[in-house]
């Protein structure tokens, strides 16, 4: 383990000790919070519960976060930061409406299917209550989507429609269908994305049939 003794400087402390424990403590708290939120649900969790799942003292918590809400937002932001660039990249590559829509849903649904445990932890508190926190990071993701839509309209890719409402519709369908998808026994992100894509491209009448594999038209 301590090859660092043999090799005097193999980067034992790239940061000062202060900065090191600072990062470490923050991660300690976030990790504990993820665990406790998943166990008790957000509503039932107290700051004390989180700090108790940690070797730290109660006062230390407030050096890092103002409240459990802020911890929650930090966790949420991590997720948003992970998916936002992927979504934007996909959209930027799109040359047609079909590509724009299908790549967005495909990426989103696959992300949700992979990280469905995190998604559940984040959205489902105890009981029947569901959560959604629009952190600056998440809102920025929405704005980004709307900007890309507006750009696509200017480029003649999209007709001159209400970009705000279209963004809202994409978000609503993505979240809601994504949620149903992870509730099913067999999570099928491709099917979910196909459904959503077909809806946006051609409306109800072009949606893939439910029971049969269906001759596919949808994704470019």
């Amino acid at each position: 383990m301590d090859s660092s003794l043999l090799k005097p400087i193999a980067r034992p402390e790239p940061l000062g000790k202060r900065e090191q424990t600072k990062v470490q403590n923050r991660e300690l708290i976030l990790e504990a919070a993820r665990k406790v939120f998943a166990e008790l649900g957000f509503g039932a969790t107290t700051v004390r519960d989180i700090i108790r799942a940690t070797p730290l003292a109660s006062g230390t918590f407030y050096n890092y976060f103002k409240s459990k809400e802020e911890v929650f937002q930090a966790i949420q932001d991590d997720v948003a930061l992970a998916i936002r660039p992927r979504l934007r990249d996909e959209r930027r590559k799109a040359k047609t409406v079909e590509e724009f829509i299908s790549s967005t849903f495909r990426t989103f649904m696959e992300f949700v299917a992979e990280d469905h445990m995190t998604v559940r932890t984040i959205r489902h508190t105890a009981d029947t209550t569901r959560f959604r926190v629009d952190t600056p990071e998440v809102v920025a993701g929405f704005e980004e989507l709307r900007e890309d839509i507006e750009k696509a309209i200017q480029d003649g890719l999209f007709p001159p429609i209400d970009a705000d409402y279209l963004m809202a519709s994409l978000v609503g369908v993505a979240f809601e269908v994504g949620e149903r998808m992870v509730q099913r026994e067999k999570r099928d992100p491709v099917a979910a994305a196909s459904f959503a894509t077909a809806l946006f491209i051609g409306g109800i009448r072009t949606l893939p049939n439910a029971d049969r594999p269906a001759a596919e038209t949808g994704t470019a």
Copy 2:
């Protein structure tokens, strides 16, 4: 016996006094809660805050509700009970896909536009946090929608699509676009409903054009 004959009751008290104050106190609490939630937001509100806005004592609260969450659900259920029959009636009258979809969105958006204060109180807690509580009443409304979709498929009104995902999509778009609508200076439920309807009927390409200076008249 005889006294009842001598003084026939003109029904000053159709209910016993007990039942009367029971109903009254419940409404007292709900009214106070609506007010306090709107002022402080759900998260910051305490049971004490609610009961303080009432002539009752703290212990009395717990004779009526277990927690502030339960009060919240009761308020939510009132809203759900108000809109559910209207939505179902409209859907039942539908003879075509267009009618089914447009009447659903029209009714929903008009309801949201009318009661936007209540909607805000319910969905927006303090800060950036948004809420959604799926009470049994609300979930039943979703189920009802899905059943109506399945019935429409059996009747040949709809193609044989995934009713669950379609329901989720309708719900997602309705909530999300409805939310944007009430945030705008001029709330226009008809425009919002038209947008959502066009999306579901024919996809993006049939969406109504947004109002904008005619820099160019492209081909839609």
